[in-house]
């Protein structure tokens, strides 16, 4: 609520306020440089607002203790435009990361990762390394990694920014299917075609 963010007295965000409710599918939009990525980063406590308050799960995360940040991030899946996969780990190992970090046992990891890889149609490629996959496949791995912990919220920053239209629509379909299962989806994009594909609530940060 009433969030301001500045870098060296240069305000990126001014008085930004919006609410997103449980189970929603929302697009955060605005032109390049409008502060979409900064907004997303503030939601997972990568950045702190200069002024204002950000409530996630009814908790003010602008005042969160640094030691609590990892535990907040485990409840929020995050998908990046540049995928952010570990190139020296296989698809399976990349997806398993989130569960390993939470201290889940090997047998549960094996089952959950297999299930999610089947859902994003990458089970056959579980032993391959990210660099041998296409951009769309890498993004699906990133989505699988974000969703394998069964987070309440998934945030995706330009998830289709590097992908062609056909691959982008596959990604949106995957995100929609998980949204139908109850995961709140927050997608930051400036791509109007994607917004049309998604047919969901749009928050234009330049107007909020």
């Amino acid at each position: 609520m009433h969030v301001y963010k500045s870098y060296d007295k240069n305000y990126i965000l001014r008085d930004l306020s919006f609410n997103i409710y449980k189970g929603e599918f929302v697009f955060i939009t605005g032109p390049s440089g409008a502060g979409k990525t900064t907004t997303m980063k503030m939601v997972i406590a990568m950045e702190k607002p200069t002024h204002g308050q950000i409530n996630v799960f009814n908790e003010d995360i602008s005042a969160i203790h640094p030691k609590q940040i990892p535990f907040l991030r485990r409840k929020i899946g995050f998908v990046f435009q540049d995928f952010k996969l570990l190139i020296n780990r296989t698809v399976f190992q990349n997806v398993a990361l989130g569960l390993e970090i939470s201290g889940v046992s090997g047998s549960i990891i094996a089952k959950n990762v297999a299930d999610i890889l089947k859902a994003v149609e990458l089970y056959q490629k579980r032993d391959e390394y990210p660099l041998s996959l296409s951009g769309g496949e890498q993004q699906r791995v990133a989505i699988a990694r974000a969703l394998v912990q069964n987070p309440s919220v998934l945030i995706a920053d330009e998830p289709t920014g590097n992908l062609d239209f056909e691959t982008a629509s596959i990604i949106i379909d995957i995100l929609k299917s998980f949204n139908n299962k109850g995961t709140t989806m927050i997608i930051a994009t400036h791509d109007k075609t994607l917004i049309e594909l998604g047919r969901a609530r749009v928050i234009d940060i330049t107007k909020n």
Partner: protein, 309 residues
């Protein structure tokens, strides 16, 4: 809760081995430098305990030799002061000292015979000398439990103050030299240990820092998906501990091999001539260096990761 901790531990070990695998060349380099450092540490420890052992055994076998004055006097009243009686009196007094094990007396004749027996090469020269010119000696043996620097000094002073004693000799000088040498070795060893310990910390620091720099992107990703600092740091500690343990084992094997090959097979006879018994490191010494090895790895990791987390 316990099963979760076991899962974490499994992951930490798995990540540590992944890190080692991903930087095999750097790790081998670090391992060889650390092995060398630990080898030098172990070598100095080995040298020190052997010097100490030698000094200790030398000290415990220390004897004292008393040279008696000639007391053969016949007084004007006809009374005779016999050497034999004087020696017997002194021996009786010495025997009353605490810690004296045995006292041997060598008269002029016995000293002469002793010389003849033990120095056959100068027998012709000795034959020309009268036995009465040889000294009368009392040799004192001590109980090892009593022997100490202070005890020997006390005995020395008490004997020196006695009448009819020319001078008292024991290996005080030698003992002092050994003490000085042990002190010097101890100080040198300590300085070298400190230097090698610092270099081991630095090697470990560099190896882990290199990993952190190379994996900065991976670390960022791990943090974004909810990894705690400990989740990232603990595998690094495990990695450095594995490195330290392997380096320590290698250095111990190397030292043991050198000890057995050169000392035992080649120099044992030579050293036994000087009554020097070479011993290998005991469990405590090995554990001490092992602890130093682990500590250096731990500190290296601590200093390198402190900047980043």
């Amino acid at each position: 809760m316990i099963s979760q901790k076991i899962n974490y531990l499994n992951n930490y070990i798995k990540i540590a081995f992944l890190n080692i695998k991903s930087n095999i060349a750097g790790n081998i380099f670090a391992l060889s430098i650390m092995s060398f450092s630990f080898f030098i540490m172990l070598f100095f420890m080995l040298s020190y305990i052997n010097i100490y052992n030698y000094m200790f055994s030398f000290e415990k076998n220390n004897t004292m030799i008393i040279f008696l004055k000639n007391s053969e006097i016949t007084r004007s009243n006809g009374a005779r002061h016999s050497n034999k009686i004087v020696a017997a009196n002194i021996i009786n007094k010495i025997k009353k000292f605490k810690g004296v094990k045995k006292v041997d007396y060598y008269s002029n004749k016995l000293s002469y015979k002793f010389m003849l027996k033990h120095t056959p090469s100068i027998r012709t020269i000795l034959a020309k000398i009268k036995p009465s010119y040889f000294p009368r000696i009392i040799k004192i043996y001590f109980k090892p439990d009593y022997i100490s620097k202070i005890y020997m000094s006390n005995i020395y002073l008490r004997l020196k103050s006695m009448r009819h004693i020319k001078f008292v000799y024991y290996s005080k000088l030698m003992e002092d030299k050994i003490n000085q040498f042990v002190f010097f070795t101890k100080m040198l060893g300590f300085i070298i240990l400190l230097f090698l310990f610092t270099s081991s910390v630095f090697v470990s620091y560099s190896a882990i820092k290199l990993i952190i720099l190379r994996k900065q992107n991976d670390i960022e990703i791990l943090k974004l998906i909810g990894a705690t600092n400990n989740y990232i740091k603990i595998p690094m500690y495990i990695e450095s501990a594995i490195g330290s343990v392997i380096a320590f084992i290698l250095s111990l094997i190397l030292l043991s091999a050198i000890f057995n090959i050169f000392i035992y097979y080649k120099f044992n006879k030579f050293l036994s001539f000087f009554k020097i018994n070479i011993i290998f490191l005991n469990g405590f010494d090995i554990f001490l260096i092992f602890f130093i090895a682990l500590l250096s790895g731990f500190l290296g990791t601590y200093f390198s990761s402190r900047k980043f987390f």
